[in-house]
Amino acid sequence: MEVFINLLVNGVSTGLLIFLLAAGLTLIFGLMSVLNFAHGGLFVWGAFSGAWIYKETNSFLLAIVGAIVIGMALGWVLERFLIRPVYGNHVRQLLITLGGMLVLSESIKIFWGPNPIRVNLPGWLEGSYQFDGIIIIKYRVFVIVVGLLLYLALWLLLSRTQIGLMIRAGVMDKEMVQALGINVKGLFTFVFLLGAALAALGGALLAPYSGVVFAEMGMQYAILAFIVVIIGGMGSLQGSALASLIVGVAGAFMAYYIPDLSLALNMLLLAIVLLVKPTGLMGEKGSAV
């Protein structure tokens, strides 16, 4: 029982971190059908800059804010210089964002060296809660709370605000949104920066959680996020949330019981979804085939 609860908490918190990364990917894809391979690069930049700022200033809050700011700045550069020139050309988008990914993760090594760096938990989040033999690590609870709050905030943004309305309409018919006097390019930049901020935040939260960060982490998590986005259905926020939790929880259990197969598990999930419902759990736009 203790093991079960611990694994569940682990899984949910990992799942929510993946969700932060996947949310941006799926929103960007839904609005502009741009598949941004470089998204994982923003995540790993968030992780490193968060860890670095925390070490320098000893303020966790500042670390998170700094990571988000840096992530957004890089996101702006990506959008402006890599993605805008290749709008509408899927193959070139794929190719160029992969290049962006490479440059982002390699430049990590220039700033912080090629070796993994250690990250410590902030003091007030160290330790754990204990109930009858069940040990729950504080930081994981913190991640779960933050993740849920962000999901709620995103949901409110999309369903209750005017800009959310514009985004939802844009996903369905970009041209018509323009014809209503709304600047779709501006809207896209907004969504892109939002996605970058979420990815960087995800990275910054992950760093103390895993205790060590390394440049290749970006690609690893990007693949996880892609799997989640496909399983959930391209362009669907709820789908991504659900799939993140599935992947996170299933991964946690797998890592405990059959550790060698944990990545294979995700591939298996992916293969099943692609075979049975290529549009994903909650995808309806028919982005597949």
């Binding site: 391979f37 794929l94 190719l95 290049g99 962006g100 992916l270 982005s287």
Partner: protein, 332 residues
Amino acid sequence: MRGLFHKVPLYWGLAIMLFMLLFPFVNDSRSMLILLTQIFIFAIFAMSFDILLGYTGIVSFGHCMFFGIGAYSTAIIFNHLEATLLNFMIGLAIGIILSALVSYIIGSLSLRLKSHFYAMLTLAVSQLFLVLAEKWRGLTHGGDGFTFSVPDVFKDRTSFYYITLISVAVVFILLKLFTESSTGKVLKAISQNEYRAEALGYKSLHYKLIASVTAGVAASFSGALYAVSLRFINTNVFSIEVTLDALLMTMIGGLGTLAGAIAGAGIIEFLRHYLSELAMTYPIFERWTIILGFLYIVVLLVFPSGLAGFIKRINLKNKRKMKKKGELQRVA
């Protein structure tokens, strides 16, 4: 054979081949031979990628897996059995069969999906192979890798140089014939207008499968040669950088030309060689991957059709100029 090779490129090809055949007599610098051997091996790899991206329009981000399968199959055979040519053939055959199988399975699962999905799926599967190679230590010795001995004919730099040179030439001719065959034309047609190709009665999935199996097999061959050239292997052969090399080489040389892939392999390998030499004095160049990354982005943004496209454009301009001149003269 008219139409298969236009005359001028044929002469050029023969001249370059002749030069390469004579090269070891002119210059026996060991490092130069090694560099050229490396270029030949990667030229095969890049050509195999060109079949996918350039001729069929399939974006695969996991091409390294076939390279790695070929490399590991040969390496593991040599690790367990004697270093004979026969065993090389066995290792090669295993690699090729495995690659054909893997590419067939992945292809039939996902080639009917949109390009995004295929790109992602191949990336994910190739990472799976990376993990597999790291975890299956009994066979692969994990990330540390292992060394092995190879037949003597491969050990001698000059003879290995010729083996790889002839391999490039043979693979080039085979792939050229393939792209000029009826199947090759259908591939080209699919990359331009898939819907229309279907309407002509071609089942595009079958043709894409043929392309991806062909590419997988050729990549596996280059991987085997690569392993032999190093006499050492580790999980790096499954890394995303290997796929990126293929991308970079074909993009720089120009898609859909095969010769462009060879030229691209030459450019990238030379560049890498000199950059790593520079790194001895300027440590910043240790991170030459980032330079290649920037180069790749610049090529994509500024010369989307690569070196070959650039040359074609200049030729076209000249032709148009000549034509104009002719017209003017006629008017005069």
